[in-house]
Amino acid sequence: MVEVPSEKMSPATTPVFEPRIVALLCHYCAFAAADMAGVMRLQHSPNIRVIRLPCTGKLDILYLLRAFEEGADGVMVAGCEEGSCHFVKGNLVAKRRVNFTKGLVAQVGIDPERLRMYNLSSSMGPRWAEISREMIEHVRSLGPSHLRREK
């Protein structure tokens, strides 16, 4: 696993918050897209740590909670585009679980905006690079999670 520097110093010496984001990706689409992004030499940010799921239908609410509990600043789930899940309804099930979990984490003081779901197809390498950047900037703007642990 790539080590993320906890707080990088920018040239102006203002500390830049480097969010730690856990990404749960479907093997058939988002994971393949991330792989393609690599082949295309698009930079993969060390802010994002990828976990491969056989399908987002395998997404468990506990995976999301565990990530937050362990101090992730953001969690993203990425599955196939709606209507093209390899297992028909996996991504729709995941969408519900993500929405349900947003309600759960809000109860314990975690901004539900730290959790996002994306949909993309396996051929969308550049799109993966784009949503990764977008998620990193989004979480950066939210600041560190209060559960974040500095190693």
Binding site: I61, L62, E69, L104, G109, I110
Partner: protein
């Protein structure tokens, strides 16, 4: 099955917050099936409680333990080895489970995490509805297999009342009139003549009115 639902999270947190170390006990039977108090719910609730405590900068250790049934001592005793330093047990079994755990562990506070609600069925994924009130004197043979006590809002034995409209109960537009269901089913079974028979006033002593109930089967007693 016994159907229950989790209490509001803040209520649960309020109950456990004075403690530093709790056990969160799940039950592997009814409440697992209705997604209220099984192993999965233990994992989710434990995680939420820990995160909530951290928000308050409080220490809260949550020991997770799910047993097969909380209404049999053989299983409850499996919790014993995990009780070290536990100040309170939060049970997400039904009310019977909560109480039986409390009886077994006389020196530990036991708290309920669920609201135990009814005896019912899974009508669709995520939807449970009431079917029986455990009246102790089943009348389903008189009412074409539809319970007049649990499914009529007024538990009428000779219904319907004047509030039955278009198949719905006057209590709520979402509640089917129990007596409409009875009549419809009698009709479908070709036994509508039974509807003419008046059921006399009920003796409720077999129900809760007779006090806490007990069933004692000598043939099943342990041979000492």
């Amino acid at each position: 099955m016994i159907v229950a639902k989790q209490k509001p999270f803040e209520t649960i947190y309020g109950m456990v917050a004075p403690n530093k170390r709790i056990m969160l006990a799940g039950c592997g039977s009814c409440v697992t099936v209705c997604f209220a108090g099984g192993e999965k719910e233990v994992g989710i609730l434990a995680s939420l409680l820990r995160m909530r405590a951290q928000k308050d900068r409080k220490d809260l250790d949550v020991v997770e333990a799910t047993i097969k049934r909380q209404c049999d001592v053989e299983f409850i005793d499996e919790l014993k080895p995990k009780l070290d330093g536990v100040e309170a047990i939060l049970s997400i079994g039904c009310g019977a489970g909560v109480q039986y755990i409390a009886e077994r562990f006389g020196k530990t506070i036991v708290l309920p995490g669920l609201d135990t609600t009814f005896l019912g069925v899974t009508e669709a994924m995520g939807v449970w509805t009431e079917r029986c009130q455990g009246c102790g004197d089943c009348k389903l043979h008189l009412t074409a297999g539809v319970c007049p006590i649990a499914r009529c809002s007024k538990s009428l034995l000779n219904g319907p009342c004047g509030g039955s409209m278009n198949g719905k109960c006057e209590v709520s537009a979402d509640t089917p009139c129990g007596w409409q269901l009875i009549v419809d089913r009698m009709e479908a079974l070709g036994i509508l003549d039974r509807y003419e028979q008046i059921t006399p006033a009920n003796d409720w002593t077999a129900s809760r009115d007779g006090g806490p109930r007990r069933i004692d089967r000598e043939d099943l007693h342990e041979i000492k």
